[in-house]
């Protein structure tokens, strides 16, 4: 273990620190200076500070060119982590922008603070290969997200969702910790690559199998894969919209990245295929089936998005199953574009907050009442369905082709995935049908939405279309990051 | 070869007339009928010009045009006429002109009617000049569709059923024809009639069929016979030959009389033309094998139809069956030529065929005239045309009776009128060749005479039926219109050489080609 100066450590963790500091700054500002101002002003200033912090972090990340691995992988800095952290910070900016006009709480400072802390947690989470640091940051993230879910004190659904989330999460954390401790016991290390090296030679013992199952359970909960998904529908529906947006987008990205790292770096490959292969394949298949089939019968828009998220988690697990650099790249591309589309969809819902939209049928006739938002929603939902030339299509194509090129045996899973995509088109079209085809029976006037919201949502939609028509933009970045990696 | 495209021009003239009516005359009936008459008049003029330029001494094809059309399928645009074709063209032009003239004063026959008639004329011209199966078939069908609509839209009370029957029968025949020639194409790669006739002449057709169409355990002869019968069906329905004639009486009766003129005058001739141009040169051996059966069919057509005509009470139906009768003789004449004589009796064969062609032309003329007269009668009687509805019309409309009488006698075959030379030649030529059939067919002559005289007696002679005391006679215009046709009847009666001279070379060539 090389001693590293604290200054060096500070420099390397500066992005996370900046984000955390901005969280503290928002908190302080709001609780002291801005107490007497109006809600709108407080939100705006808080958002400004928060975004400034994130922008700062992004700049620091982009300008930084070094690689390092400190303390046996407790802090890892390479082009891949740089990429993911940048993306996370960017998504936080979007989430903050989308929350600017909300009115579900008066505790602006606390809210934004927790959001930024969660972001910092995520950035730490992806920048480490040490199981304990992973667990710690995962807990920080989870706690933040529980709080964010419960933030709407006036809504019983919010409290209920948070409670379920917390209980499930707590249990999942316990599983994860238990699995980590078993791994430690088996390999005498908590550093991923070291674990892999030690366990590589060993045959699959019952203890190792239990450890794998535990870890998969814990992390599977985080990514909302079946059968660990039961918290997701309630959380998506009950949480305040900006919180749900954050859960559905950034947290997914970070969780999948960690999942991938743990499985591919930490749990070793067996002679023919990784030990966890069949388990993950089963989880993937189950997620696809449960997510898509359940989404068909949903009547609430957010629950529909939640179940579709479960389905998408299944597709993304294919990237992990590919167990190759190409697979990882595909996973990252997919999760980023998926997160974009999801945050956009939640953004539209946030903009329409005042209409009290919950059921799919509440969206009837939206195309005449809010044409711009409807069009953006069209783009987001079609991207989720995988219709070209939108980003989601390339995500799916990339994941499926990398899965197949790594291992032809995954064919049956790919076929299932594509089949479930067809099913997903049905429920996405159902929503679009309400928006575009049906006429509203209740109200007819144009819906006024804040310009800022529309601009943000529009920007996200533009990105989705752009990434769909020119996937190379994102792909080159990911490929570059992967190529610079040692393994 | 490929000189000035006279034939194409002729074929397109009625089409141009039809298009002109469609584009300009819309609802204007007067303009439409003027255009129609002009177009068919010009067509007749062109036909006469063609006759003028035609070399009657040669039996070969003249005014040929040959262009590649769909090379990959072996389809060429090949047209040409010999004496036979020219006769048919002339016949069609005359009959169509008569039909259009008969509709001049018919108020229900609007522009659409004239368009359809002109389209039919194009179909006729095309059928009689085409020498490659595909575009021959195109024109064959082009004749069918307007006829269907003419019956369906302007016909009598039972027109729907009559039109349907007409359509279905003719369509079935056409399909059989198409299948037969598709099979031939698949076997030989040829669609051209002339080339196929050459193949048959060289004895290469049957082996080609056997070689390329492997139909289970059929012998080569069997395959050829099957194809022949399929093609024969197509023409047999058109002429018609019994027992494929059942569509005819209703169709003729329900069609407006102007259309019936076309049906009997021109369209039935399409069938006979097909026999002569297509079946006989390509399938002589097959026809010969089945000669006895075919002769029985011809005899039945000639004799039974006469009996049935006698039993009718609707004038139109009587003449409809009479058509079957007359054309039965023509079929008899054609079949006679196929009798194996080893090269002798060529003169008789030529005579028979000459008679057939004369008979075709004359029947066209006469039948058209007869149905025109019936149209005039219907107009005056308010739609009645039953045999027993009239009586003693001679007293109130002598000119009408006189002129119609001429036509009836022509149909009867009175010497001095055009009907006689044709029938005479047929019987003269056929008797030594197919004696028993000819003898039996003569019964038909007898019965025809009987019922025609019955018509004369019931309609024109006898006591005047008080109902028609005020029946108007033929107007000036009508007399003028009928004059050319009737004059032609006399001229051809005394001087049939006009027609025979046109066709004889072709006939002789056909007979010698057959090598039977």
């Amino acid at each position: 273990m090389n001693p590293v100066s604290y200054f060096e450590l500070l420099r390397l963790t500066l992005p996370e620190i900046v984000v955390a500091l901005s969280g503290l700054a928002v908190l302080t500002l709001d609780l002291t200076v801005l107490q007497r101002r109006s809600l709108a002003v407080r939100w705006r200033i808080g958002a400004l500070v928060g975004c400034a912090g994130c922008v700062g972090a992004i700049l620091l990340l982009l300008l930084r060119a070094e690689r390092a691995s400190l303390y046996d992988g407790m802090l890892v800095v390479n082009s891949l982590t740089q990429f993911v952290q940048t993306v996370l910070a960017a998504f936080t900016i979007l989430a903050v922008l989308l929350s600017v006009n909300s009115d579900f709480t008066v505790h602006v400072g606390e809210y934004l603070g927790v959001v930024l802390f969660a972001t910092a947690a995520m950035m730490v989470l992806v920048g480490t290969q040490n199981l304990l640091v992973i667990f710690a940051s995962l807990e920080l993230l989870s706690l933040s997200l529980y709080i964010l879910t419960a933030f709407n004190k006036h809504s019983r659904k919010s409290a209920e969702a948070a409670l379920k989330y917390f209980l499930f999460g707590g249990m999942a954390a316990a599983f994860l910790l238990f699995g980590i401790s078993l791994l430690y016991g088996l390999s005498d290390s908590i550093q991923l690559t070291a674990i892999a090296a030690t366990l590589g030679a060993q045959p699959l013992s019952p203890l190792l199998a239990v450890a794998i199952v535990m870890i998969v359970t814990g992390l599977g909960f985080k990514v909302a894969a079946a059968p660990f998904h039961l918290w997701a529908p309630d959380a998506y529906q009950g949480a305040p919209t900006p919180s749900a947006a954050l859960i559905a987008s950034s947290s997914k990205i970070a969780s999948f990245f960690v999942f991938s790292m743990v499985l591919t770096l930490g749990l070793p490959a067996g002679s023919v295929m990784p030990r966890w292969f069949s388990l993950i394949a089963a989880v993937a298949a189950l997620s696809m089936l449960v997510g898509n089939l359940a989404a068909i019968v949903q009547s609430s828009v957010r629950r529909l998005l939640a179940y579709s998220a479960i389905g998408h988690a299944g597709y993304m697990l294919l990237g992990i199953l590919a167990h190759s650099a190409l697979g990882l790249g595909a996973l990252l591309y997919y999760v980023v574009t998926y997160a974009l589309a999801t945050i956009g969809a939640f953004g539209v819902l946030a903009a329409l907050e005042k209409e009290g939209i919950d059921q799919v049928t509440d969206l009837a006739g939206l195309s005449r009442r809010a044409p711009w938002l409807s069009f953006c929603m069209l783009i987001f939902l079609l991207s989720l369905a995988g219709i070209p030339p939108l980003a989601g299509f390339f995500g799916k194509f990339y994941v499926f082709s990398s899965a197949l090129s790594a291992r032809m045996g995954l064919l049956w899973l790919v076929i299932l995935a594509i089949g479930m995509s067809v099913v997903s088109l049905y429920y996405y079209l159902r929503v679009l049908k309400q928006i575009y085809v049906r006429d509203s029976e209740v109200s007819v006037g144009t819906i006024e939405t804040p310009l800022g919201m529309r601009a943000t949502v529009g920007l996200i939609a533009l990105l989705v279309v752009l990434l769909g028509c020119f996937p190379q933009l994102l792909l080159s970045w990911i490929d570059g990051a992967l190529r610079a990696m040692p393994h | 070869m490929n000189g000035f495209p006279w034939i194409t021009l002729l074929t397109l003239t009625p089409l141009a007339g039809a298009t002109l009516i469609l584009l300009t005359a819309g609802k204007n009936r007067n303009m439409a009928r003027v255009i129609a008459v002009s177009a068919s008049g010009i067509a007749l003029g062109l036909t006469l010009a063609l006759w003028h330029g035609f070399n009657s001494a040669s039996g070969a094809l003249q005014f040929q045009e040959r262009h590649a059309w769909i090379p990959t399928l072996g389809v060429t645009y090949h047209v040409g006429i010999d004496g036979l074709g020219l006769l048919m063209l002339l016949l069609s032009a005359v009959v169509v002109l008569m039909s259009v003239a008969s509709s001049w004063n018919c108020r229900e026959h609007g522009p659409a009617y004239f368009v359809l008639v002109l389209l039919l004329e194009t179909g006729l011209f095309g059928t009689f000049t085409a020498l490659n199966f595909i575009h021959w078939f195109l024109f064959w069908e082009l004749g069918l569709i307007p006829a269907f609509f003419l019956i369906r839209l302007w016909g009598g009370p039972l027109r729907a059923r009559a039109a349907t029957q007409f359509f279905v029968y003719t369509m079935v025949g056409s399909v059989a024809l198409l299948l037969a020639f598709l099979a031939i194409y698949l076997a030989t790669g040829q669609f051209d009639f002339i080339d196929l006739a050459q193949l048959a002449h060289n004895g290469q057709l049957v082996p080609a069929l056997a070689q390329n169409l492997h139909w289970g355990h059929w012998t080569s002869g069997g395959i050829a016979d099957c194809i022949f019968w399929a093609a024969f069906l197509g023409f047999a329905v058109k002429i018609p030959i019994m027992p494929f004639h059942t569509w005819l009486p209703s169709a003729y009766a329900e069609a407006p009389s102007g259309t019936t003129m076309l049906l009997t005058g021109a369209m039935s001739k399409m069938g006979l033309y097909g026999l002569l141009r297509i079946l006989v040169p390509i399938f002589p051996e097959q026809m010969q094998h089945s000669l006895t059966l075919l002769l029985w069919l011809a005899v039945a057509s000639a004799v039974l139809s006469a009996f049935v005509a006698w039993a009718q009470t609707d004038l139109k139906r009587m003449f409809a069956y009479s058509s079957i009768n007359h054309l039965g003789y023509c079929v008899l004449g054609v079949l006679a030529v196929l009798k194996w004589t080893g090269g002798s009796l060529a003169g008789e064969k030529a005579a028979a065929l000459d008679g057939v062609l004369l008979g075709i032309f004359n029947h066209a003329l006469t039948a058209a005239a007869l149905f025109w007269f019936i149209a005039m009668l219907e107009k005056r009687s308010g739609g009645l045309r039953g045999l027993n509805d009239f009586g003693g019309l001679r007293k109130v409309a002598p000119v009408f009776c006189g002129l119609m009488g001429i036509a009836i006698f022509s149909s009867l075959g009175l010497p001095g009128l055009n009907g006689f030379p044709g029938e005479f030649l047929i019987f003269k030529g056929a008797f030594p060749l197919v004696t028993w059939a000819t003898a039996l067919s003569a019964i038909g002559l007898l019965i025809t005479a009987v019922f025609l005289l019955v018509i004369l007696e019931r309609v024109f002679l006898g006591p005047l039926n008080e109902r028609w005391a005020l029946l108007p006679d033929l107007s000036r215009g009508e007399r003028l219109a009928m004059f050319p046709a009737l004059a032609l009847m006399f001229v051809l009666g005394f001087y049939p050489q006009i027609i025979v001279g046109m066709v004889n070379s072709a006939v002789v060539q056909l007979v010698s080609q057959l090598r039977l």
């Binding site: 194509f397 082709s401 079209l429 | 575009h135 369906r152 009370p157």
Partner: protein, 507 residues
């Protein structure tokens, strides 16, 4: 330059969507101009084209890391279908001249669909092909769901899901082929040259073929077609039956058969009498022909008659494809063009001319109206369309069906005979529809009355006449002089692209 057919269509659509307060009149004009421009470009492209070559329109790297290019190219077959799209597009706009509800969105969706179709026919990169192919699904859904008639939401969803399922099957095949060929290229020519292992081709060919054939209306996956066509608005049906079904057939030829020809070889064993995918698909095509025609014969709804007739005609296309002979394949491509025009004409008559005026499509309700006297132009157009549809010589259908029959005779003689039966049934249902809808029925019986029809209907508009004239002229032109298209198609079939096909079972 041919790429501008795509771009102009999309630009037109964007213009219609973004411009505020576009009224119906402006929307129609923009749509018409765009469609005419697209057609004009296709015509110019054909005039400049040397038969037998492959004209590269655009070729730029798109996703270099995956070896995917934005590659547009055209050969004779593509050009034939581009012409078809142009003609039907223009006619479709003319027949939608009376759309009053949300016209800007209607024409925008219409133009997006046209643009996507142009894109499919011009694509020479497999992924780009797929992108355009899928892109076409969503406009179809909305066109039917918003402006359609009977059970439109159900029909639209069924159509969208069937199409998507078909393209999902194709996607599996595309990805598998891409991976098998080394994940280096998606170029159609390169993939056509790549020697896939036989066992691989044996399962990929039926997968991709069936995926495309679903959209082409192959029995028994055709059930979306009659419902969808009947529910769609007139221009929608014209495009759907006229052009979109051809996307499927084109995919069968360009992707399934060109890339995986060995998939059609004999299996070496027999299942239920079939020894190869080729034999199976040929029989399915034939069933489609006869089934489509037979069911059309008993329909009570006029539009369903035409819908099922489309299934029947597409059966001919698929049968022609399976003959694997030059004459059969060129017949199949010609039939794609021919049926596109004819279907457009038939749906125009049924939808725009009859239904928009009488508001009923039931033959029993149309019978007493004696439409032939009320709207004679419609009757006339239907007669021409009917004649073309049954394959009468002089119209495009004849040459196409004739070539297919000859090809089928050489490959599967028994099927050729049965296909002939299909044509006969076709004559029957065409005649029945004409009789009942226009001529006042009673084709088999009772005396017909002569009194003028009591129905009074609006006249046929100029736009409809022009649209009908364009379509009738197209089918007659190709019927009378098929070489305009055959000279494009036949050399294209002889190009090196189809080498794999030729080396195999070509005859």
């Amino acid at each position: 330059m041919l790429a501008w057919t795509i771009y102009i269509s999309f630009l037109g659509a964007a213009g219609l969507m973004l411009a505020p307060r576009v009224n119906a009149r402006a929307a129609r004009l923009i749509a018409l101009l765009t469609a005419v421009a697209g057609f004009a470009i296709s015509v110019i492209g054909v005039c400049r084209y040397t038969p037998g070559t492959l004209v590269t329109v655009t070729r730029v790297p798109w996703i270099p890391s995956l070896g995917i290019e934005y590659h547009l190219a055209a050969d004779g077959i593509s050009l034939t279908l581009l012409l078809l799209t142009g003609i039907v597009a223009v006619a479709g706009v003319l027949f939608s001249w009376n759309v009053e509800r949300r016209p800007a969105e209607f024409f925008a969706l219409y133009l997006v669909l046209i643009g996507a179709v142009y894109g499919v026919f011009l694509s020479f990169d497999l992924l780009l092909f797929f992108v355009f192919y899928e892109l076409a699904i969503i406009p179809k859904y909305f066109l039917i769901a918003i402006w359609g008639s009977t059970r439109r939401e159900y029909a639209a969803m069924k159509l969208a899901l069937y199409s998507f399922a078909g393209s999902a099957m194709v996607l599996i095949g595309v990805i598998a082929a891409y991976v098998e060929a080394g994940s280096k290229t998606m170029d159609l020519a390169d993939l056509a040259r790549f020697p896939f292992p036989l066992h691989f081709e044996m399962w990929i060919f039926p997968l991709v073929f069936v995926g495309f054939a679903i959209l082409a209306g192959m029995w028994p996956f055709h059930t979306w077609a009659p419902t969808g066509h009947a529910a769609a608005p007139t221009a929608g049906s014209m495009l759907l039956a006229g052009v979109v079904m051809k996307l499927g057939a084109y995919g069968c030829l360009r992707v399934a058969m060109m890339l995986f020809p060995r998939g059609m070889e004999a299996w070496g064993f027999r299942v239920l009498g079939f020894g190869s995918w080729r034999g199976l698909f040929a029989v399915l095509a034939l069933i489609g022909i006869v089934y489509g025609a037979s069911v059309a014969l008993v329909q009570k709804d006029f539009k369903f008659v035409v819908g099922y007739s489309s299934v029947s005609h597409m059966g001919f296309v698929l049968l022609g494809l399976m003959t694997l002979s030059q004459i059969g394949l060129s017949g199949a491509v010609l039939q794609m063009f021919s049926h596109g025009i004819i279907a457009g004409l038939l749906f125009a008559v049924v939808g725009r001319m009859v239904y928009d005026r009488t508001h009923t499509r039931l033959l029993s309700e149309l019978e007493p109206m004696h439409l032939a006297r009320v709207i004679p132009f419609a009757a006339f157009t239907f007669v021409i369309a009917g004649m073309a549809s049954i394959g009468l010589p002089g119209f495009s259908g004849f040459v196409a069906e004739f070539e297919i029959l000859i090809g089928t005779w050489r490959a599967f003689p028994a099927l050729a005979v049965l296909a002939g039966v299909g044509i006969l049934v076709g004559i029957a249902f065409s005649w029945r529809a004409l009789d009942k809808a226009f001529l006042g029925g009673a084709g088999t019986g009772s005396p017909v009355d002569r009194s003028p029809s009591a129905t009074v209907l609006p006249r046929i508009t100029v736009a409809e006449r022009i649209g009908a004239a364009i379509l009738m002229a197209a089918t007659a032109a190709v019927g009378l002089y098929p070489r305009i298209l055959l000279d494009l198609i036949v050399p294209a079939l002889q190009s090196p692209l189809f080498d794999g096909l030729r080396k195999g079972l070509w005859r």
